[in-house]
């Protein structure tokens, strides 16, 4: 293990031993300070990871430092709204992923069980709830969630609001089932009301100028994200440790900030370099130095990943790559919304939410999947069937049958994104091997 990895491992162990909010704030204060943060960024093999981790530390540190108003947000909120209100977003579901990453999910899940959250519930929400009960998360001033895409967040957020005694600052955005003129209007009015209510409570008015600027930045981020996605239609060799499933926080929570633009612009240029290397047209020797192009790119199998991944240490992606399989895209990275109109910010954000493939009928998700299958020339699809995720897993049969009708093999891979004790490594390996055999035999 290198020096940087040793430091990161030490930090993890120290957090495990000092499981409290103040200690986490202290660590973030150190890692997130200058010049530590840029040095920390340099420990990552790729620019993409560097900017991802710097931006992540920055926003989490801001949430913990007690200087700014914090809003808990569910994952598919229109975060442009929060940024226009100068609220620092904190995403319990995403942070739950971190609990697995830093090895404290066992403790947070145990705490949730002790508080009567049954083990049948999704571990993202259970772990987040356990972390709240253990007082690990920063104190929020507001809690905002939407009914997109699942039931659990709406309940756990209310419970959190009750714990913090701020039930009046709990907001649920009720996202209609279908995208119609009436539903856009209904949703836009909710966003406007929430914006007005939060502003009033913060003692200020809605700053339309700032809102427009946030929308512009969101559009700029969207532009670069779409360009990244375009490059990925061809790209088969990636920076070391690159995984599209790691970019949930900037893709969703930082929409409307300069940081999101910086991240995706850098990802784009880095992946562009890799594409040039892949095509054999680049004279850039420096970026080639970390790349060991062993596989025969022409025979690489292209995989589309649905849902999320295990956030504890696992070897799923190593297994795939060692067999010349590459996850070329994941549904969580799709730019699914049209460009926002800064003259109609609430309506635009309403349209953004209603455009999400996970909203409404599975037909929406299926249409998005089929488009991705076409665009990325997919050989096989893996749906990670995360324990307790009923909105996603309930669609598995339809997804599998529809893809079969389109001559695409699907693997429903049972597992748990956070709880490694609820996932069988051996079984996953067997299922992956079987899946790869099917695709290989189809191709031959």
């Amino acid at each position: 293990m290198g020096f940087a990895e040793n430091i990161k491992e030490t930090i993890k162990i120290q957090i495990q031993k000092n499981l409290n909010r103040d200690y986490i704030e202290k660590i973030l204060g150190i890692v997130g300070s200058w010049p530590v943060l840029p040095v920390y960024g340099m420990t990552f093999a790729s620019k993409s990871d560097k900017y991802l981790n710097i931006a992540t530390i920055k926003v989490i540190k801001k949430a913990y430092c007690k200087k700014y108003p914090v809003a808990y947000g569910s994952i598919f909120l229109p975060y442009e709204l929060l940024h226009s209100l100068d609220l620092v977003p904190f995403l319990p579901e995403v942070m739950a992923g971190f609990t697995a990453g830093i090895g404290i999910a066992d403790k947070t899940l145990k705490e949730a069980s002790a508080r009567w959250y049954t083990p049948d519930l999704c571990t993202f929400h259970r772990s987040a709830s356990g972390a709240v009960e253990l007082n690990l998360f920063p104190l929020p001033q507001f809690l905002i969630c939407s009914s997109l895409a699942c039931d659990a967040a709406q309940k756990t957020f209310y419970i959190d609001a009750k714990k913090y005694n701020i039930e009046d600052n709990f907001y649920l955005i009720d996202v209609p089932y279908k995208k119609t003129t009436d539903s856009i209007k209904y949703l836009a009015s909710q966003l406007e009301d929430i914006s007005a209510s939060i502003s009033k409570k913060m003692g200020k008015k809605v700053d339309i100028g700032k809102f427009k600027n946030t929308i512009r930045l969101s559009n700029e981020f969207r532009y670069w994200a779409a360009k990244v996605n375009d490059i990925r239609k061809e790209l088969l060799i990636y920076p070391k440790n690159f995984n599209g499933l790691s970019f949930i926080l900037p893709f969703h929570a930082l929409a409307g900030t300069k940081d999101a633009v910086v991240i995706y612009k850098n990802i784009y240029f880095e992946l562009k370099d890799f594409l040039e290397i892949q095509k054999g047209s680049s004279g850039n020797k420096k970026s080639g130095s970390n790349i060991k192009i062993k596989q025969d790119i022409g025979k690489t199998k292209r995989i589309l990943w649905l849902h999320l991944k295990p956030y504890y240490k696992n070897n799923i992606f190593e297994i795939l790559e060692s067999n010349n399989y590459r996850v070329v895209f994941e549904e969580i990275s799709q730019v699914y919304w049209p460009e926002l109109d800064e003259e109609k910010p609430f309506e635009s954000l309403a349209l953004k939410m209603l455009s999400h493939p996970l909203n409404g009928s599975v037909e929406n998700r299926m249409a998005a999947i089929l488009e991705m299958v076409r665009n990325y020339r997919i050989d096989g699809v893996i749906l990670f069937s995360h324990w307790g995720c009923r909105h996603s897993n309930g669609s598995a049969r339809i997804i599998k049958d529809t893809l079969k009708n389109n001559n695409v093999s699907t693997l429903i891979l049972d597992g748990d994104c956070l709880n490694k004790n609820n996932s069988s490594e051996g079984q996953i390996l067997t299922r992956l091997q079987g899946f790869m055999e099917i695709i290989n035999s189809k191709q031959s």
Partner: protein
């Protein structure tokens, strides 16, 4: 209509007509969630019938993951087996499971038209208007199916009919909860079940006759009441989702407690609250105004845990506890129901603060473990 599964035998003497079918069996609409407006279905010339999910899961298992709502799986089994021979099915956007069940039905049973009714999770002026629009869409779906328009007068009459059913069921609940031994636990829930599957006009007639009879009997029985217990068994509240287990209610007959309040998908959340015309609908004589009153009833009825503001639900529960001298709360949930299961930690904390004991029981749908559940309830009652 055939007697469902032989499970409603005890009341069949009083409700023999309710088991019969007088209307055209081709025009039956299945529904699953209590946010589905029966009055609109009736006004379109259909008989609404709740899909009870009493079939053992066999073929349906292959369509859903293991850890999925067992009620929906059983319901899908019924749909696949064409048990109810339905013209169409109305789903409500009540939860993740229901959305997926609708998708499955649409994909794999396209010959039975299905409709998804979007029900808001918040109760505001805007959500009321939105829900009214959605009800209008439902009305349009039913009109298209029946090839005839819903008239104002027909909708008004249907509202009155369903309101009458609700009023009578509330009266039944009064006799059930206030008089010891007047209405058996299994009988109460069987009558409720029947109310959801039989033709309302006939059911209302049978229920009226039944209520007259028990009203006479009640004159000779002391009210258990909401006052001091004084030797009466402890009064408990039951709260949960769709608990349709006959064996469970049979078990309660042998337990030393009085179920004074039931807050389930197949009890008060079905019949409490009337559609009220504040005067505007009558004046304007439009279906749109009537739909607004219908929408208001459903958004204001006793909340399902799917609704956003759990604080309102806690308040409802507390009022029931206070007004009915409740000594303990039994929380029943089918497995894998996120909305219900995630309410329990909050409820338990609240009850703990107010000194009310609670028991959490997760039960298997259509696979009820009688002995185990009975033992746990007995132990709980001993604490009370």
């Amino acid at each position: 209509m055939t007697e469902p599964g032989g499970q409603i035998r005890n009341i069949s003497n009083h409700f023999s007509n309710s088991f019969k079918t007088t209307k055209d069996e081709r025009f039956r609409i299945g529904w699953l969630c209590t946010y589905t407006p029966e009055e609109i279905i009736l006004s379109a010339g259909f008989t609404p019938t709740r899909i009870l999910g009493e079939d053992r899961v066999n073929k349906a298992e292959g369509y859903f993951p293991i850890n999925f709502c067992p009620y929906l799986k059983s319901s899908w089994e019924s749909i696949l087996n064409d048990i109810n021979k339905l013209s169409a099915i109305v789903f409500a956007n009540s939860c993740d499971g229901m959305r997926r069940a609708y998708d499955i039905c649409k994909n794999y049973k396209p010959q039975t038209p299905s409709f998804m009714l979007d029900v808001p999770k918040i109760n505001t002026g805007a959500s009321l208007a939105h829900f009214s629009n959605n009800l209008s869409e439902l009305a349009g779906f039913l009109e298209e199916l029946k090839k005839s328009k819903i008239e104002f007068v027909t909708l008004k009459k249907s509202i009155e009919l369903v309101n009458k059913k609700r009023t009578l069921l509330k009266k039944l609940n009064y006799y059930y909860s206030e008089f010891d031994g007047l209405v058996d636990d299994p009988d109460f829930f069987d009558i409720l079940k029947l109310s959801m599957i039989s033709e309302p006009e006939i059911f209302i007639q049978d229920l009226c006759a039944y209520l007259e009879k028990i009203a006479e009997e009640s004159a000779t029985i002391e009210i258990a009441g909401a006052g001091e217990n004084n030797g009466f068994p402890p009064r408990i509240m039951i709260i949960g989702n769709f608990i349709n287990e006959s064996k469970l209610w049979e078990s309660f007959k042998e337990l030393n407690c009085k179920i004074a309040v039931t807050d389930l998908c197949n009890s008060s959340r079905y019949y409490e609250g009337l559609v009220e015309d504040k005067g505007n609908a009558s004046k304007n004589n439009t279906i749109e105004n009537l739909l607004v009153t219908v929408a208001a009833r459903y958004l204001n009825k006793p909340q399902c845990m799917r609704m956003a503001n759990l604080g309102i639900k806690l308040k409802e529960v507390q009022e029931n506890i206070t007004n009915n001298n409740i000594k303990g709360v039994i929380f029943f949930s089918m497995k894998f129901c996120d909305n219900t299961l995630l309410f329990y930690p909050l409820l338990r904390q609240h009850l703990g603060e107010t000194g009310v004991q609670s028991l959490f029981l997760e039960i298997e749908h259509n696979n009820f473990s009688e002995g185990q559940v009975k033992t746990r309830i007995q132990a709980f009652l001993e604490i009370l």
